[in-house]
Amino acid sequence: MSPTSISWWLYKEQAAGKLDFPRGYHYEIGGRFRAPGAGSPAAGLEDGYGASLKEDARRYYGAQISLTVRGEMIPNADSYCELDPAVKDRFGLPVLRFHWKFSDHEYRQIAHGIKTARAIIEKLGGKVLTPELPPQKAIAVGGWIIHEVGTTRMGDKPDNSVTDSYGRAWDVDNLVIADGGVFTSNAHKNPTLTIMALAWRSADQLAERMRKGEI
C-alpha cells in the first residue's frame, strides 16, 4: 500500500448542484508487487496452465493497483445511540445501544465513486478485476474503516447538539468533550488531527475560563 490518494475534485460541480449526493469522497490508492498465486489479487488473471501461465505470472506481477472509495457519511435520524433499556455493565449502569443505517446519500456517492474508479482504470488501459456490484453490496459495513466519530456532536443550539463549538456540554457547565464525539459529520478524511486540533482549542478555552475564575 502506498500513502497516496486522489483528493475530492468536484467542488464546482457540487456547488452547482450537478451531483446527486451531498459532500464528497476521495480514493485511497493501493498497489504492491505481490507474488503470483496463493492469495494474490492477480488470481483472476492467472488462467489456464502451462507456458502461457508462466507468461501471465511475469506479465501481471506488479501490474495492479486498487482504488478504494472513502466517502463522507451524512448524519441521519436512523443512526444514533441511546441507553440500552435492559443491558447493564458490571457497575449496574446501562450500556449504550447503537442504531445504524446508511442512506441514499452514501449509496449514490458510492455508485459515483465506483463508476469513476472503473473509468480511471479503463482510461489507464487497465482491466477492472472487481466484479460490478450495486452500491448496497459494494459499501463496507458501518465501522469497517474504524473512523467512527460523532454522537456528542457540537452545534450552535442545545436542541440539536450536545456541546457548543468548544466541546462544552450544554447541560453540564464544567464538562468538556474533547474527542471524536463532537464531529458533526464523518468527513472522509482521517479524523485524528482534527480531533487533536479541536481538543487543543477546547483546552485553551477551558484554561482561559479557569484563569478568569468562571469554573
Partner: protein, 232 residues
C-alpha cells in the same frame, strides 16, 4: 540469497494468512463460488481431522519451524508433483515446478491446522482423487498414465475461466485452488523469484532521484497547467 525451503514455507504461509485476514478484499477475486455443484463422480473422502498445534501467537521468526506433521501420502505427493509440472513447466526462464519441492509446499499447506488450510485439504485431496476417477472413466487409466493429449483434453475442461465444461464446476474450483498453491509455492522459491524479477528489500546507499523520462513527463503536465517546471 538462499533461504531453506522450510524457512520460506513458514514465512509464506504466515504472510498469506495474515494478508488474507487483513485485506478481505483479496478474497473477492475468487472466480468460482465457494462450494460449486460437484459432478456425480466427485469422491467424498473421510479424512481424519488435523489436530496438530499451529504456530501459536508468538512464533520464533528468526529460526522458523513448522509445528504440524505432514499428512499427504507418498502417492498424493507424487501426484501433486506431477500436476505441478504440467501447471508450471520448464521454460527459458525457470525450471519445471516438478523439479522444485512444490509437493512439499502443498503438503505443508493443507496439513496446517487452520480453517482455510483445512478447507483446502478436503478440496485438494478430493480433487486429486477425482482426476484419477475421471481419467479411468475417460481413458481407462490413472491421470499420470494418460497420454499428454488425453491429459490436455481433461485439463481443458476445467482449467480456463469462461470455458469450464458445464457440470465440472467443482473440479474447476479444485484446479483453481491447486494452481494458486502451485504458483504460491513456486514464486516464493529463489528460482521463481528470479523468473519474475523479485528483488526483495535491497539497501540503497543513495537516492538517484526519479529518471529523466519521469521528470520530462511531469514537466509536460506542469507546463500544460501553466506551472513552473521541476528541476532534475
Amino acid at each position: 540469497m538462499s533461504i531453506s525451503r522450510r524457512a520460506t514455507l513458514a514465512w509464506v504461509a504466515g504472510a498469506v494468512a495474515v494478508g488474507a485476514l487483513a485485506s478481505p478484499w483479496l478474497l473477492d477475486h475468487a472466480n468460482t463460488p465457494a462450494d460449486p455443484h460437484a459432478p456425480p463422480n466427485w469422491p467424498k473422502l473421510d479424512l481424519p481431522p488435523v489436530t496438530a498445534r499451529g504456530y501459536g501467537s508468538d512464533p520464533n521468526l528468526v529460526e522458523p519451524s513448522v509445528p504440524w506433521p505432514l499428512t499427504m501420502t507418498p502417492a498424493q505427493r507424487a501426484q501433486a508433483k506431477f500436476l505441478a509440472g504440467i501447471i508450471l513447466p520448464a521454460d527459458d526462464h525457470s525450471p519445471s515446478a516438478a523439479d522444485l519441492p512444490i509437493d512439499a509446499f502443498i503438503d505443508e499447506w493443507i496439513s496446517a491446522p487452520y480453517p482455510q488450510q483445512q478447507e483446502d485439504r478436503t478440496l485438494i485431496l478430493e480433487g486429486l482423487a477425482w482426476l484419477d476417477i475421471e481419467s479411468k472413466a475417460r481413458f481407462g487409466g490413472d491421470f499420470a498414465h494418460a497420454t499428454p493429449a488425453q491429459r490436455a483434453a481433461l485439463f481443458d475442461d476445467i482449467a480456463w475461466q469462461g470455458r469450464i465444461k458445464p457440470g465440472l464446476e467443482k473440479p474447476a474450483h479444485f484446479f483453481d485452488r491447486l494452481r494458486s498453491l502451485v504458483m504460491g509455492g513456486y514464486y516464493s522459491l529463489p528460482e521463481g523469484m528470479k523468473d519474475i524479477g523479485y528483488l526483495g528489500n535491497a539497501p540503497a546507499t543513495q537516492w538517484p532521484g526519479p529518471p529523466d523520462e519521469a521528470i520530462a513527463q511531469l514537466n509536460a503536465a506542469l507546463s500544460g497547467l501553466g506551472l513552473p517546471p521541476q528541476k532534475t
